[in-house]
Amino acid sequence: MEKQSYKNTLLIVIGNLILLLAVFSITAFAQGKTAPAASEEGKALYDDKCAHCHGIEGAGDGSAAENLLPRPRDFTRGLYKIRSTESGQLPTDQDLFDIISNGMPGSSMPAWSEILSEGEQWQLVAHIKAFYDGFEGASPRLIDVSGKVPYSEESIAQGKEFYTNLGCVDCHGVIGRGDGTSAPDLADEWGFRSWPANLWEQWNYRGGSTTEDIFKRFIGGIAGSPMPSFISSFRLGLTDEESARMNDLELKMDGDGLSDTEEEEYAALEEKLFMFEDIMLNVEEGVELTPEEQTKLDTALEPILEKSWHLANYVKSLGPEERPPAAVGDKVLRSQYRAEGLPGMNDEAWNEIQEVSYFPLVGQIVIDPRQFNPSIDSVTAKSFYNDNEIVFLFTWDDRTKTLPQTDDETGETVEDALAIQFPVKISEGPTDPKPYFIYGDSRPVYLWSWKVAEPSTVIEMNAKGIGTATVQADQAPIQAEGVYKDGQYQLWIKRSLTTEDRNDVQFAPGVFIPIAFSAWDGSNGDVKTKRAISTWYTFVLDPVPSNKRFVYPPLVALISVGLLFGLRSSVRRRQNT
């Protein structure tokens, strides 16, 4: 009997343990893992791998920080950009782990998943948390992603509408290239320059580019940056109509003033808002809401969350997830022969070329003054030619159109510009020397220089080393047209295939011609050697497919038939003799 009850107790205890474990693992699953306690190992690891950017004390002031933009995170304030938690909340441990693991694309923060073990990354999470007291006992509220709206054309269209109407364009620009009117003046919490994301470059989304990732950035905001939580753009507690009405009334209040009934109406709306503010205050302070309040909050948030999903679907629809492959190998730029005439800047004919060639740019850090944080990351190109002329269409994203102006920091005159570089003499093989990739050396380069102040002019230049670029005395007639629209420059250039000038590059079909780029963003302080550059690439005027291909192959085939029959009869003859 006694034994039986002992057994029962044991069973109950085990049962409870299992239950406890299950509950525990479910919560762990829901919230992600949690970091271990901060340790000496974590500190050693941090000092070795992180401190040179983030600083020994975690203040984002390591020795490398000065030349980095975005700056390395300052861990002492508890402000984290990429979170799965609501606005104003700390990140979860899993959030911190994910950032370490995946890195922050588009910044200098690399992905550590391949370099450090999972355990080591958790030790880092623990160490980073120790820089900010607020983490102690915090249980941040997670963003609810359960109401996901499936990706559809309809949802994208709705999202686009919200994008335009809710102020996104102010920073991110009309079509999302990060070229909004306030883009030049944005700064983060620490006073450092903050560029709005170019939404077309999803490979640079710091926190990932899935629809859920994008949604979380809307709801949670990007702490420390000018990107607010989407929720703050709404008057919580009011319907769309009520909110619009309140706007109208406010406008009127500033103008003619309100009538008595309108005054009353306004006061009623205000009352509703205040009531909601109490609820939000409770949420903020972690006071448990009454079921009634909770229902109210949920009802108010529901349409906003839905809008955010539409918006996330729209943003997701803007561009490819991966950076396009560079214009090498089978992606090399091929100028197409076009007998029907060469297209002007806005001609439909450009659409005949499906794939643009992509030339990545990096900062020029070889020669002082250097550009460690280039804002122009690539140039793309398409090209056609005919028997006499060649035409190019270059595009590059620039968040700001900068006409010549004095740079506040350096006092230099800065402006947006592009230079396209060719060798004067085209090398005959891979080992035949080329000019140095930045403006040549004893072997000269030939340059097309375009500046935003004179958008219809391309100046021919030669250079024999950086700082030696000179304008050619004899300018060939080059047609050019440059346009800035929605965060992107387009530059159309047409020149004759060949010129009389020995200092010009001569274009001929079938020859692989080296090409390189320099790009200046005046708003980023680019001037002279401080700029974005590419290394040498090559392009080719694709030879017109020759008609020979209909003549020779059948001939060869016929000959082979003849040979086969010849062989056969000779073998037979020998066998018979």
Partner: protein, 259 residues
């Protein structure tokens, strides 16, 4: 199963070797080989096969037997007809595609790790013969641990202020500028890099950068800056110490046997 004829065997060997070159060597194991290199190898293989089969008269006859049979025997008519149609068609196809394909961009042939000059220089100052110059701070590792650590720390600062943009946080050649560079930045975590060269070699590569390379290493393509324009002699030696400390790989020392 019937025994394979000598001709079939040779054919199989040839095809297998071609597949090996085309898809294993140039694909699984390494970057694709240029077509001209493959045809050169195939030419050699063909020559070897022909030499092998024609050494003895009997063997050569055995080799040719199935060919002759196919060409002349009455009971091989079906096979012959099929081949007489197929072979010209394949030739037609090959010749047509050859004339229609677009020109390949020139291959980038370069010596990745060229021999250093005999004399090691910082700017115009001669330091000594490259083979013999040692890192002047290396001895501190034994003599004065603290001073050594100070040099390594300084090297760390130099690295993260100058080098990591291209060579990466983890010295793995995966810096945030790396995607735009060709040739790609060196990966110091590769066990084939640091242990194979002396510290003086790294001093040369860092101080003279891309433009200091010999022509075979395409100096015009390398984005490696001439760091003697930006760094002091000591800073360069320090960053070499740091690279070695961080990766755990020791550069070769003078007098060590060639690998």
């Amino acid at each position: 199963m019937r025994r394979l004829s000598l001709f079939t065997k040779c054919l199989i060997i040839f095809v297998v070797l071609w597949l090996f070159l085309r898809f294993f060597i140039g694909g699984v194991w390494s970057v694709p080989l240029p077509a001209s290199v493959i045809s050169m190898y195939l030419g050699l293989i063909l020559l070897a096969i022909l030499v092998h089969v024609s050494v003895e008269d009997d063997r050569f006859r055995e080799f040719l037997r199935p060919v002759k049979e196919t060409l002349a025997d009455e009971n091989r008519r079906v096979r012959r007809t099929v081949l007489f149609v197929l072979i010209p068609l394949v030739i037609l196809g090959l010749a047509f595609s050859r004339l229609s394909t677009k020109a390949d961009p020139p291959a980038a042939l370069r010596t990745a790790h060229p021999a250093p000059p005999t004399e090691l220089k910082y700017r115009d100052k001669v330091i000594g013969p490259t083979q013999e110059v040692e890192n002047p701070f290396r001895h501190l590792e034994k003599d004065d641990q603290e001073a050594f650590q100070a040099h390594v720390d300084n090297g760390r600062r130099v690295y993260y202020q100058n080098c990591f943009y291209c060579h990466g946080d983890d010295l793995d050649g995966e810096g945030h500028f790396a995607h735009g560079l060709n040739p790609p930045p060196a990966n110091f975590q590769d066990p084939g890099i640091i242990p194979n060269y002396q510290e003086s070699f790294f001093f040369w590569r860092i101080s003279k950068g891309g433009p200091g390379l010999p022509p075979a290493a395409t100096p015009w393509d390398s984005a490696m800056p001439v760091w003697e324009d930006h760094l002091t002699e000591e800073e360069i030696w320090d960053v070499i110490l740091f690279m070695s400390e961080y990766t755990g790989y020791r550069p070769r020392t003078f007098g060590e046997a060639e690998h």
